[in-house]
Each structure stands twice: as C-alpha cells, then as structure tokens.
Subunit: 372 residues, 2 copies
Amino acid sequence: MQVADSDTPTTPADRTQRLYNFSAGPAVLPEQVLLEARDELPVYDHVGASIMEISHRSAAYDEVEESARRLIKKLLGLGDDWHVLFLQGGASMQFHQVPLNFLPEDGTADYVVTGRWGSKAIKEAKLIGSARVAASSEADHFAHIPPEHTWDLDPDAAYVHVTTNETVNGNQFSWDPSLDVPVVTDASSEFLSRPMDVEGYGLIYAGAQKNLGPAGVTVVLVRESFLEARKQPLPTMLDYGTHAERRFNTPPVFPIYMVEKVCRWLDELGGVEAIHTINQRKAKKVYNAIDGTDFYRGTVDPKDRSTMNVTFRLPSEELETKFIKEAEHRGLLSLKGHRSVGGIRASLYNALPEAAVDALVDFMDAFERQYG
Amino acid sequence: MQVADSDTPTTPADRTQRLYNFSAGPAVLPEQVLLEARDELPVYDHVGASIMEISHRSAAYDEVEESARRLIKKLLGLGDDWHVLFLQGGASMQFHQVPLNFLPEDGTADYVVTGRWGSKAIKEAKLIGSARVAASSEADHFAHIPPEHTWDLDPDAAYVHVTTNETVNGNQFSWDPSLDVPVVTDASSEFLSRPMDVEGYGLIYAGAQKNLGPAGVTVVLVRESFLEARKQPLPTMLDYGTHAERRFNTPPVFPIYMVEKVCRWLDELGGVEAIHTINQRKAKKVYNAIDGTDFYRGTVDPKDRSTMNVTFRLPSEELETKFIKEAEHRGLLSLKGHRSVGGIRASLYNALPEAAVDALVDFMDAFERQYG
C-alpha cells in the first residue's frame, strides 16, 4: 500500500498499486479478502470448479451461505427470532419491498427523513399507500437528526422507517430507536460498523457495497413476529416470507461468498465492538482536522455526525475541485462529495485502514497551509 | 483440465483441478475469463483498487458496462431500437416484472407453457391480471413444444410469453416466434448460444448464470416501441423505463464485469454463429449416444430437443444414481437431473469444452457395457 506524504509529490501515485480508497460505495474491501478470492480462482477448495460455477444447491455453496448467515447473527448477537436473507436490488428495491409487504391498503407508515435515501424511501412507499413524514430535517439540508421526542408518530402506523446513516448527507443516528411500533432501518452505510441494539427493530436492511462486500447482494434481517404481519398474497420474489422459508431462487453467489469472507475478517478482528472503537477513532481524527480550523467546515451538527461518511466544505468550490485533484495525485481516491450536494466526502468504512485516515489528515493540513 | 478416460479409474478425479462441469447453472465459465479476473485482483487495470471497490459512476466501471452492452448488441445484431438492461433477481423476478409493466388491469396476456419455468412465469402473471394458457405440453410432461399453429392466441393480448429453452425439461424452440402481438421470451438457458431472429420479440430476458456469466445479473433486452406501452406509474426499481433511461441504482458490478469478459471471449471465438455450430455438434454427440442404444432414453421429442440441456433416463433409478456417482468419480460433475424430474441432465453451455462432451460419451458407452 502506497502512502501519501505531506510534501507535494511531483509524480502521481502509481495506480497499479492499491491506493487509499475513500469511495462511498462500492467501497474498499479488506485486502486479505481480495487475495483469498484470487487464490480461489479458477478452482475453489476441492470442488473442481470456481465458486461461481457450481449449483446454488450444492453442499459447498450451502456451507458458504450458511457461514455468512451464522457470522452476521453472531456479529450482531441476533437470536433465533431473526431471519437473515440475502436478496438483490439494493436499498432501492427495499424502498419498494418494505411497504409492499407491510403497508396495508387502509393503514399508514411513518417515515423519519434525514437525507437523500430517506427521501427516496418515502417516495416509493407513497406509491403503495399512506406514508407520513413523522420528522424531517430537510429544512436545514439534513444537517441534523430530529430528536425522537419531536417525532409526530401515529400510534397505529404499521412501522416507522428511519435511515440510521445517510451516506450522502453524512449524518448518523446516535441511538437505536425503540418505539411502540416496529422500526425499519436502512442501515446500508453503517451495517456491521458498530454494535446495534436490535430490540426496537422489525427489519434492518443493507446494500452490501459499503461495509459488507461487493455490490449485488442486499442483506435483510427480519424478525419473525414482524414477518408474520405481512400482507398476502404477494409476488413470490418480493415476499420476504419466500426467502425466509427456503432458498427459492439462484442467489448472487459471488457477492455472498465475498460477504462471508468480509464477515470472517471482521469476526477475527474482534467483531463489531472492536471495529466500532477503530471507526470512532478514525472519524474523530478527520473531524478534529475539520474543527481545528476555519478553512474546513463540517456540514452536519457535531452530535449527529456520521463515523462512516464525513462530509465537509472548503471556502470555495474552486478550492474543493483543487483539493480533490491534489488528493488523487497523492493516491487519496474518491473524496468528491455526492453530485447532489457537492463538497468533500471521506467515507471511512470498516475496511479503510487507519493509515489512510492519517494520510488524509496530513494532506488536509498541507493543503490548508498552501491554500488557506 | 483433467480428462476422464473410459476405463474405471481406481482413484477419484482430483478436485483441486478444474473438471468437466455439466452444471445446469450456475454453470461453467470460460477458464480464460476466470484467469483474467484472477489477474485483475487485487488491483484492476490502473484504478488503484479492484473493480469491486470503485464507484459505479466512475469512468473505469462505465467503460466495462458500456462494453458489455455494446458486445451483446453486436453479438445479436440488435439495432438502436433495443435497450440492453442489466437488472437483478434472475428470471424469477422477470416473471413478476414483465406482467407488472405490460399486463393491463383490463387486458390479458398469453403464455405458452413448455416446462417448469414457463409454469412459474404464468403463476406470477396471474397475481397481476388475466393470463391465459395459449398452449401447454404439460400433459406429456413437457416432452414437446406445441407447434405454433396449435396455439390458442388472443389477438388482443398485451404479449405472448414463451420459454425458448426449458432448462429443467430439456426442450428448446427450433424457431423464433413472430406473431401479431409482441413476444416475450425467457431465454435464460440459451442466451447467446445461437443467432436469434429478434424481429418478433418485444422483450428477451436471461439470468446470466448459464451462458453469460456468474449469478447475480439478469440481462433484459427491450424494444423501445414495446417499452412505451408499459403501464404507469410503477415502482421505480421495477419500471424498465427507469433503467432504460439511466444508470439508476448501484448495479451488480462484479457479475457485469464477468459478463463483459464472457461476451468478449465469445466475440473473439467468432460470435453466436460460430458457437452455434459447436453447440449443435456437441449436442448431437450426446443425442447420438442416447439414440444408439435402448439403455439410454431421451425424454424429449427429437425435433424439440435442447442443444443446451440434454435430459435422459436409464433403465432404473438405481442405475441413474450409480451413473451419476461413477461420473463424478471420473471428474464429470453435476449430471444429476433437476430434483423435480429426476434422471440425468447434461448441460452443454457455450463454455463447456467439446472434450467434456467426448469424455461424457466415452463414459456413457463404458457404463452401458458394464451395466447394460
């Protein structure tokens, strides 16, 4: 791994080597996992073929998928009342599938909207039935999470939908809501980055391509008691019950195989408690760099800042463009904020080495000294 | 690649090597493609990360996806009126998505049912609206394809759905239907195995995990004029128009990257005309072995036999079990028929080397001599 130093190098970073990758997703994976996958091509273990070429009903694949399921349950401390499903279509499909399963025709669901993804989620729910905004921070461009006591909740809602980490806007819940009705969360960009108190949740979903694996698989955790409340009949593939009951269709084998490896890596590292400590330390380093100067300006209320997606601005868009370009030159990749909000975004997912954060902080300091 | 010989070996085939893989899907991939993927781990080209770890909106990924799209259009000779979409959920999701988009509430759609997959397709359509069986070969266990002149077609149908190759039942259309209404086909297990006359089709879909790549991506070809007839509004992710218009959500990057490589391999080999010649030769060798004796018995009317999935029976289930076991011992993998029908199934997809077919035929001969 090449390390950026704080003097401006004359030649750009060598991109045939692995560089520091701050991509918001698809995102950095543990190098060890990629090397393992490489070693298992073109033959996996003792099956006479690669993992991609064998039946999804074979013992060898079954072992991989069951191990991934077992590890996720272990890492989050889930009991037997939870199903772990490996679906497809990412959070975008869940925006439809959740209300399709759980929002009754004559009922309602509450949405807490704290960013771009929550906004998309409620839009899809409204195509199915009555979805209410129980709280929103849109008025201040999602710079904070509305405190729970301000939420306008309907006691008869089928569920309350939240987005516990907003990838684009850089905010994160600092608590796991527990309400009178089941909570559903889009945890895509924080999944397995911290311990979760799952007590209040009925369903937790996450696209894999942030903390969990490559794009192409969506993990859905659903509690049996919540699952039982779903509507019937439903299109077979979109009925969570189909997948809770059995392996119905051909799953995205390779993405799930990678998820299993990532979970194993995390488990060996000490699990979500250990990674949470590291994640908090990594985030604190960048936020300290932001707060230590007027040159950089965080976009989110400090109490609601994300440990995963650190968003900040520079004094001008010109400087932001220059910042991104010089960072790339030094091998600090993908620091550009989402096209819908601009600015800088450093995603500090589980697999991003702490050395990458140190390199970023050094660069921020050097850049400010040069242009501040 | 290890080759099975026709004398019974005393030690089983070495499964740390690539063996002959007759899996019906996920299925064998070209070895060259797997080796290329291996060489591109943990760094792809010049991007400082693997292909799985970069933004789906990056130039590097964009090039991969556009190349895959371009190659599919080239291989099938598709004009500008065709969209090539990379979706998720396999044929099972298409069973829902097709009627969701195209079967009007007050309209109807016709289904030609020639096997297990067609039966599943119409079941999902009936959850959406009025879906009629225009023809079926269920009465003879899908041993034939009902000729077009026997189809009971509704001239006002929104579309006619066919399954041009039935993976489980081993039958295949010998023509591309062109009717008064647009034809939709599930081409999963024959996609890119032969030239197609696309004139009569409005939509063609295929799960990748047979001829095209690993599981986790579904290719949908949809004609613009057919697309325009879809219902509105639709759930965003399930609206074909969403994906025809732009890259809406995070695609399954790695599966698409592999599809691009497989298409490139096929193009270099001479395209669908060249592979079709090879596929016909491969299939003929196995069917000749079946027809040359009373020991083996094909399950499908010779005129409707599949070049991709060759299904046959032995005199008893005991002999079938023994056949599968001895074949495995010699390194001929995954010859067991689908659990719903039993017997033997040899899938001879594009990437299965002809030498595998020769080895199978030798084994069939040796097995009959021993047990016949």
